[in-house]
Symmetry: C2
Subunit: 406 residues, 2 copies
Amino acid sequence: MHCEVICIGTEILLGTTLNTNLSFIGLQLDDCGLSVACEVCIPDTVDDIGSALQTALNRSDLVITVGGLGPTVDDMTRETIAAILGMRLEYREDEAERIRRYFSERHVEMPESVLKQAYVPDGAEVIDNDYGTAPGLWCLSGNAVVVMLPGPPRELKPMLNNYVLPRICERFPPRVRRINIGISGIGESSIEDCVATVLPDFPDLEVAYCVRRDKVDVRLTAAIDRVDTLESAAVAVRGVLKEYLVDSEHGVVGSVCDEVRRRSWSLGTAESCTGGEIAKRITDLAGVSDIFKGALVTYANEAKSELLGVRPETLATHGSVSAETADEMAVGLVRRLQVDAGVAVTGIAGPDGGTPDKPVGLAFISTIVQGDVRTQRYVHPGDRRRMRDRTTLAALNQLLRHLRES
Amino acid sequence: MHCEVICIGTEILLGTTLNTNLSFIGLQLDDCGLSVACEVCIPDTVDDIGSALQTALNRSDLVITVGGLGPTVDDMTRETIAAILGMRLEYREDEAERIRRYFSERHVEMPESVLKQAYVPDGAEVIDNDYGTAPGLWCLSGNAVVVMLPGPPRELKPMLNNYVLPRICERFPPRVRRINIGISGIGESSIEDCVATVLPDFPDLEVAYCVRRDKVDVRLTAAIDRVDTLESAAVAVRGVLKEYLVDSEHGVVGSVCDEVRRRSWSLGTAESCTGGEIAKRITDLAGVSDIFKGALVTYANEAKSELLGVRPETLATHGSVSAETADEMAVGLVRRLQVDAGVAVTGIAGPDGGTPDKPVGLAFISTIVQGDVRTQRYVHPGDRRRMRDRTTLAALNQLLRHLRES
């Protein structure tokens, strides 16, 4: 099955909009055992849309277009594609009604121009949009399917997951089944070594390693008639990597919160070089108010002393970036916030501030679980953003390990 | 000038890697008055690379390829493109030496396979890579230019800015010049109204409004022989939007830090629903340790009382999401951290926790500057991520306004 994605939007080529939709579509199709063979991004013009669709139809079974379904003059996907597929646009009163209701429910006046979105190519199926006014469209062209989706991610995502993917899997039954197993806190080659110890038991299985932002997914793939093998292999891989398994949706931060919640404990952070990033990642998750009490971001040395009780002698003797300071930050965090578990981080994010002894990228991380403190030294070179990102991940991983061993 | 970008990498189509390079290239070219006409993303196969390049060469003056220049077996951009352009690969001892030096300077053992990157198509110019081992390549094919760049953003970005863009502008002199003026804290249509009052003085000027994550760029474009007009227009637009101007590189957070720094003041935050995101944004900027003392992330009510001194009566009477609580958080922040300026935020990020009186999206923001407190109410509907993002931006904007009026 050859699937092509056409992203329509001058703003993506201008660079003002990051194309997150392609990544989302790729991941969702991959989970179903399907894949995107090619993507094209073009401006919102009739000529560009027309020629990209013609090219795609010549080689694809499935074409997904993204964007250009809105009400403004530069939205011309619907009209252009209908013309190419030889479909007439019909004004659909039920769609117009849905759009009117969308505005009245939000007590917002409806500009007449949005009713342009009530025109539907004859023969097309409408894909409901619960988060916006532009409906998606499912059209047939010979043996190929053309699916048109709106560009805003919060509209596209539920439409793809709830409506489009099930339809795609029905029409193009995947020949393989996949299971992704999220792993964090261990290097890619060590993961490979662990997996290699169990793999010989499962021939006909394909294994891949996908490095994501905060985990590595071990991706197991088997033919659709070998689902039993696939599931047994997943059990074996999970067993051999037990201590490094993380939440498949929320990664290591999700697993940390699970461990804390399952013990009815509370959680806090004390951060210097990460500047609040660990707390931000934790509170990215909805519903953490039952376990997360708060964070003390002590960027200045005086804040480390005043808020966390780090002793001025410790700062003077060992420096603010030291195992001793990280230790005292962790102890102070627990005393101050009265939490059962926490993590304290101090480091040099750069680009300035490094010395031969304490280079940019150096960090000390102390985790504390029910009074037990563990401190580790890390060096994460690279630019400031990368250092902070990797230090945040290291802090969450060290805390997860500590929680699991407590 | 027709420019096409070819992104080579199965990981982008799989969705595990977000294509940030396209956005970066688009923004940089746009600043020079050039634009990307089309982008194609393909897997790392000889056939896909070959056919994408052939198609691009038939219609483009400039083709930029991204990715596939590394040392592994699935990196085949260099070999494939050299074959299509009829160029022989030559082993370059100077390049091999550079690669060896790269490893020895980092005290890392060099795998022999990386020397594959020392092969250069004859006639191609090498583009130095200061952050990795794969050199970029600049090749001619008839009148067209083909530029090959490595995929990792920290390698691509400096190569594009320092070497490729100047060469592109020399070969394809832009016919227009652009100035972007960053504006925040005022709606797009109000910006348009303000700009409209000065525009009649500057005919032959093109104006566009680009909505970015934390600002709107007013983009002024003029023919290359009208640079004087362009600069006068920029002065006029800056004048009429003076109070909403923000740092062109770092947006509103950069301007907040500038205002604090220029008075030799100090800064802190007190955050509930934003969970540390404001502090994270501030510390994303390098060199803020001279002004930023820290943050108190008080997610739980008890933390608001214990750390910030919010009175239990205030929480009981008005609730944790109220103007009164935001006020007391701001006052407590200054008392605790001894800062000259700060911002306190409390709100309901959702998806749960809303009531008819206090819906999801509601936030109260108090800014405090030298003891003067100002509090405003906001409602930012949408999902949790969007609410937190927009509340963070509102907090920074309110603080910037308050600082500028102090």
